[in-house]
């Protein structure tokens, strides 16, 4: 019953939004804004000739690469900043200065450094997700309750064991929350990052459909696919929260 409700209720809201959209397009007699049916037809057309899968694959690859690089760099840096107060006071101002600079502002520099291949969007996605990862990881270490550190020190464990078996696992649940946020941000900037991409990616699909013949059905299709893929990615990240060694931190 509860499971069914969890699926039916959001589906009902989605159906209602689609209905409102449809009615609004028909009522306004818009010639350019697509109806849901036109979006579905456009999507099927792309799916049939295979380009849809190429676009999704290209975007997932870039976001995956940028996100993983951000985790690989951001988690260790965040752990260092969280654990060593000197590292925090040294690096935090720089992180806070770089953090609010939009990835879009980096586009000219990305082109200058990496050209217009896959590297530029990967770099932009990396930039967008590395700072939330650093900030959240450092905060996770700061939030470790003192009694755990004390207990470990009481048993006379080495610094190495303290870090590996207490600091990291104690911070891990919040680090995973940070990774969820970062992946969301990475996926969010995919369109901006792919404004400079060559002939592939969902961002490219949206920009190209608009430029090449006002195919707004494909513009909206790209948006819907980005949204649905984001939902699936978040669902995958949430599975990490079910691991037994991190469950203790989440109330539900």
């Amino acid at each position: 019953m509860g499971k069914l409700k969890q699926i039916v209720a959001p589906l009902a809201v989605a159906a209602m939004l689609v209905a409102v959209w449809w009615i609004a397009v028909v009522a306004s007699e818009s010639v350019i804004f697509p109806t849901p049916l036109q979006v579905v037809t456009g999507t099927l057309e792309l799916a049939r000739d295979g380009t849809l899968w190429n676009h999704i694959g290209a975007s997932l690859f870039r976001v995956g690469a940028g996100f993983l690089l951000a985790i690989a760099a951001g988690v260790p840096l965040g752990l260092l900043m969280g654990w060593v107060s000197g590292a925090f006071s040294t690096l935090n101002p720089i992180v806070q200065i770089l953090r609010p600079i939009s990835p879009i502002a980096w586009i000219p520099i990305a082109i200058l450094w990496f050209g217009v291949g896959d590297l530029s969007p990967i770099f932009l996605i990396f930039l967008s997700s590395v700072f939330p990862t650093i900030v959240q990881t450092a905060a996770a270490v700061h939030a470790i309750e003192r009694q755990y550190i004390w207990a470990a020190e009481n048993f006379g464990v080495s610094r190495y064991k303290l870090f590996l078996q207490v600091v990291i696992p104690a911070a891990l649940p919040q680090i995973i929350v940070g990774m969820r946020v970062s992946l969301g941000v990475a996926w969010l900037v995919v369109v901006a990052a792919e404004m400079i991409a060559l002939r592939s990616g969902l961002g490219y699909l949206i920009i190209d459909s608009r430029n090449a013949g006002n195919r707004y059905d494909l513009v909206v299709a790209g948006m819907v696919i980005i949204g649905l893929t984001g939902l699936l990615l978040d669902g995958a990240m949430r599975r990490l929260e079910r691991l037994k060694s991190v469950r203790w931190r989440y109330a539900r």
Binding site: N154, F155, K161, Q165, P169, A170
Partner: protein, 245 residues
């Protein structure tokens, strides 16, 4: 008998916005090898601060603590703290928790962990995670984790205060049973005078802040103790009268 733990003129204050708050105002006492000393005092009198200093987690502003004649320098596995809040690692299973304190490559880690799991009545729960256990069981994990490293001293900071009355009493009997088998030197911080009389060899009453030793009571009764015995009731009354009750 030589002193296991010796406190000499311990003083401690904390800075606040209204100037320093003098918490400990010169405390001296000793604890003998194998002795069980309970420390009772009004709430906020600095009992926990005092225990943290003795266990090596905090430094006194003045005075010093020696353990086995050597100056106390930070925490050590020689004396393990069991606190009210508990510090069982929630990301490790019960068995992993029990093995945590055993450093180095020793082949008997698991056997030792399982032995102490049995001692505190946790057999069958070794693979479980702490969040799957209830309060009394968690306390058992913490106690067993401390016992596994065979500490010479147990520092207990209101260890049973967070439990419900019945579980707390049950755990008190468990601790007494284990202590009868493995004689540890014990320092117990408690606000429960009855608990102190039930468990300790000696009871130190601390004064309100800045705290000093206000009175000391010997508890010269053999275990198992009957708290309903007139002598116990009399002792309780004289300790309570130190608090003006």
């Amino acid at each position: 008998m030589r002193a296991k733990i010796a406190l000499t003129d311990i003083r401690k204050s904390f800075p606040t916005d209204d100037g320093p708050l003098h918490v400990i105002g010169g405390v001296d006492f000793t604890v003998d090898e194998g002795e069980f000393v309970a420390i009772v005092g009004p709430s906020g009198c600095g009992k926990t601060t005092l225990l943290n200093i003795v266990a090596g987690f905090d430094r006194p502003d003045h005075g010093h603590v020696t353990v086995d004649g050597a100056a106390r320098n930070g925490p050590s596995p020689k004396g393990i703290v069991i606190s009210q809040r508990g510090s069982v690692f929630p990301w490790l299973t019960v068995q992993q928790n029990l093995m945590f304190g055993l450093n180095g490559r020793r082949p008997d880690k698991k056997a030792l962990a399982d032995h102490y799991a049995a001692v505190v009545g946790l057999t069958g729960f070794e693979k479980g995670y702490p969040h799957e256990l209830y309060g009394g069981m968690l306390k058992r994990v913490e106690l067993a984790r401390a016992l596994v490293v065979k500490p010479e001293i147990l520092y207990m900071d209101e260890p049973l205060a967070a439990l419900d009355a019945l579980t707390s009493l049950q755990m008190r009997f468990e601790v007494l049973r284990i202590l009868a088998e493995e004689r540890h030197t014990c320092m117990l911080i408690t606000h429960d005078v009855e608990e102190a009389i039930h468990m300790a060899d000696r009871i130190i009453v601390l004064s309100p802040r800045p705290t000093t030793v206000q009175a000391t009571f010997e508890v010269p009764f053999a275990h198992p103790r009957n708290l309903a015995h007139p002598e116990m009731i009399e002792l309780k009354a004289s300790i309570l009268s130190e608090f003006g009750l």
